[in-house]
């Protein structure tokens, strides 16, 4: 069986499974649609949260970004896990005790203001939509590869599949589907990593192999990697190169963004008890950590493998020949990925060989002049293809490659579905039922939820054609927006007595300033070439647009406290509400907002 058929087989089998579960568990009432009737065990909930939350950014994109940058991109690893500590300690138990369905309901009630609720809904929609753009980027890469078509065609087909899939069922369907998706994606991520770790280090656990010895050279793997990339003029893998302040801000943005994203927080409304909300965050992180402890190993090992493939006889011998790339089966993956337009090479100096090196490095330029090289000839290596191409690069069996294709799609699909659900419930439940038409029928509410889903996916697909960055970078922007708007409002709602006006002013200033900062660097509404600055040379010092969320959060807190001090304090009944949210006693099953 050829690879194409094998990929198709794995992908369609996994899809059949998810759709089967979605049909089996189709949502009936609105209450079930949003929160699965609260009958979900913490471990199950943790696994579903993990699938929901680990998206194309974690699965497809992150290891590639780590592979080509090294230590500096550890920010993704710390940021996207550290946020769960904030969730578990600062938000989950209290939001569960509050006992409503959505984040904006909490903000609306706690800040006794329909305006606050509206502003929260807008913040959620902006952050979620940006997040979906990142997912669509990943969907395009995955579909492009496994159907062996261009990235753009892959994206369009992927969008149709995501839509068809998300319209099925509500949270209940999604919860059990996501458990299945978690199993598929974690197998797809770890199995190839185990093979590669065994090949390179002899250790079956990739997380340990990363710090083990490289079998072929006898040196520690990371020492070997540092040496080989240094010889080609690249930055040493384990060393720190970027700006430390920006690194701290970026990590912090990802952390507080994790604790401010609606589709993750919503999960904690669905557990039966407050105590379960605490455990659920822990279980979610257990399942997330299985991937996150493997990811840095995947990145480092792939970087080593790619470099060795381009310099099969060592960095001081001749580079790989064009003839070998075209004929040797070990290099078949390059031709396949070339079709997607995400990988490219060019024999610029016409010597029949492809020299891969850092042509911006002065020493390498001197060497190139001497050797007659005309610049780096591996001209295009999209970071987002690394994880999906990884098993092919390591020459693993065909079924592993098929499995990875299925896993990548599971990751992108499950998150896209969760986000679309968050967007659709924000529009139908908060915006339409809560504000515009409180008398809407259950049927009308479900219908408007689905229309909102369709609209969201059209916008995300359109912007996904020209994404503002690699999948994980676009997603990082979404985290920044959530960090600057939602997280501070929730924190202040539970831990302080900030009033309605303070919260509204805080959210608006946090969101607006962060959004403007991002648009100044990434283009207005992410439309290419409308930006005035770049992340290489940002407006404020070394603060990149992806790191600005933490600054936005500080602005949000500062504005909220100042405005709150100057206006009337909160009324007694809100004071009582805050007191009651703080203790688990008396937690009832939450009720819909009737």
């Amino acid at each position: 069986m050829d690879q194409f058929t094998l990929n198709l087989l794995f992908v369609s089998a996994s899809f059949a499974l998810y759709i089967g579960i979605a049909i089996w568990a189709r949502a009936g009432s609105t209450s079930e649609f949003y929160a699965a009737g609260r009958g979900v065990h913490p471990v199950t909930n943790g696994m579903a949260t993990a699938a929901d939350w680990m998206s194309a950014a974690s699965f497809i994109s992150m290891a590639g970004l780590i592979a080509f940058t090294g230590y500096d991109n550890s920010t993704f690893l710390m940021g996207w896990t550290g946020g769960y500590v904030l969730l578990a300690l600062l938000l989950a138990p209290y939001l569960r005790k509050f006992g409503k369905f959505t984040v904006s309901e909490f903000i609306g009630d706690r800040f006794y203001s329909p305006t606050a609720r509206m502003v929260a809904v807008i913040c959620l929609i902006v952050a979620s939509l940006t997040y979906v753009i990142g997912q669509m980027t990943g969907v395009g890469v995955a579909f492009g590869r496994f159907l062996e078509i261009s990235n753009t065609a892959g994206l369009l087909i992927g969008a149709c599949v995501v839509f068809a899939y998300a319209v099925f069922g509500g949270m209940k369907g999604v919860t059990y589907t996501q458990v299945a998706q978690y199993v598929v994606l974690i197998m797809a991520y770890t199995i190839p990593a185990i093979f590669i770790s065994l090949q390179l280090t002899g250790n079956p656990i990739p997380a340990l192999g990363l710090f083990g010895d490289h079998v072929a050279s006898g040196e520690p793997l990371l020492t070997k990697l540092d040496q080989i990339v240094r010889e080609l003029g690249f930055n040493e893998y384990t060393a720190h190169h970027g700006d430390t302040f920006n690194m701290v801000l970026f990590t912090l943005s990802l952390m507080i963004g994790t604790a401010g994203l609606p589709h993750v927080i919503m999960r904690f409304f669905t557990v039966p008890r407050v105590a379960d909300a605490r455990w659920s965050a822990g279980w979610a992180l257990v399942f997330i950590a299985l991937l996150y402890l493997t990811a840095p190993a995947v990145g480092a090992m792939a970087r080593l493998n790619i470099t060795e493939l381009m310099w099969p006889n060592g960095t001081d011998a001749q580079a790989v020949s064009v003839e070998q790339i075209e004929t040797d089966a070990k290099y078949d993956w390059m031709a396949t990925w070339q079709k997607t337009g995400l990988l490219g090479w060019e024999d610029k100096n016409g010597d029949g060989r492809i020299q891969y090196y850092n042509d911006a490095n002065a020493e390498m330029q001197a060497k190139a002049a001497q050797e007659g090289w005309a610049g780096n000839e591996l001209t295009n290596f999209n970071r987002d293809i690394l994880v999906l191409a990884n098993p092919e690069i390591a020459n693993l069996p065909g079924w592993v490659i098929g499995l990875v294709a299925a896993g990548g799609l599971a990751a992108a699909l499950s998150t896209a579905a969760g986000l679309l659900l968050a967007i659709s419930s924000a529009v139908s439940h908060d915006l339409i039922k809560g504000q515009l038409n409180p008398g809407i029928s259950e049927k009308g509410e479900l219908l408007s939820a689905r229309v909102a889903m369709a609209a969201a996916i059209v916008v995300a697909t359109y912007l996904g054609l020209n994404p503002p960055g690699f999948a994980a970078q676009t997603v990082a922007l979404a985290f920044g927006l959530a960090a600057a708007s939602i997280f501070p409002a929730l924190m202040m709602g539970i831990f302080t007595k900030v009033n309605n006006k303070g919260a509204v002013a805080g959210m608006i200033s946090g969101l607006a300033i962060t959004l403007i900062y991002i648009f100044l660097h990434k283009g207005w509404l992410f439309i290419p070439d409308t930006n005035s600055f770049t992340d290489a040379d940002p407006l404020l010092g070394t603060i990149k647009s992806t790191s600005f969320g933490a600054v936005g959060a500080v602005i949000n807190f500062a504005v909220a406290f100042t405005v709150s001090k100057m206006t009337a304090p909160i009324p007694q009944e809100i004071e009582d509400l805050v007191e009651s949210v703080r203790v688990p006693k008396g937690a009832a099953a939450a009720a819909a907002d009737h």
């Binding site: 690893l77 550290g82 520690p220 990371l222 020492t223 070997k224 402890l293 203790v583």
Partner: protein, 86 residues
């Protein structure tokens, strides 16, 4: 002790536990993983140094321990102050 006082004492203890947990949270990630990495550079771990390990793996393991510790500690605290759910 009235319900109100119990709730107050409970909340005070809770905030203290949260603060200490967050100190550890920041120490292993922003501290050992980034800012204090140069200080840990003498401690070799598999071809690199301890700071690199904390940035890529150690911090995640500590985060896990923190969340489970907090859940366990708080469920105990709920019972001690009689503010649990049952």
């Amino acid at each position: 002790m009235s319900d109100k006082e119990a709730a107050k004492a409970y909340w005070k203890t809770n905030v203290r536990i949260i603060l200490w947990s967050l100190v550890i949270w920041a120490l292993v990630s922003f501290g050992f993983g980034i800012l204090l990495r140069p200080m840990l550079s003498g401690i070799a771990v598999g071809g690199t140094d301890l700071g690199f390990w904390f940035a890529q793996q150690g911090s995640i393991l500590v985060f896990l321990a923190l969340i489970f510790f907090y859940a366990w500690r708080m469920n105990k605290l709920d019972a001690e102050h009689g503010v649990g759910e049952e």
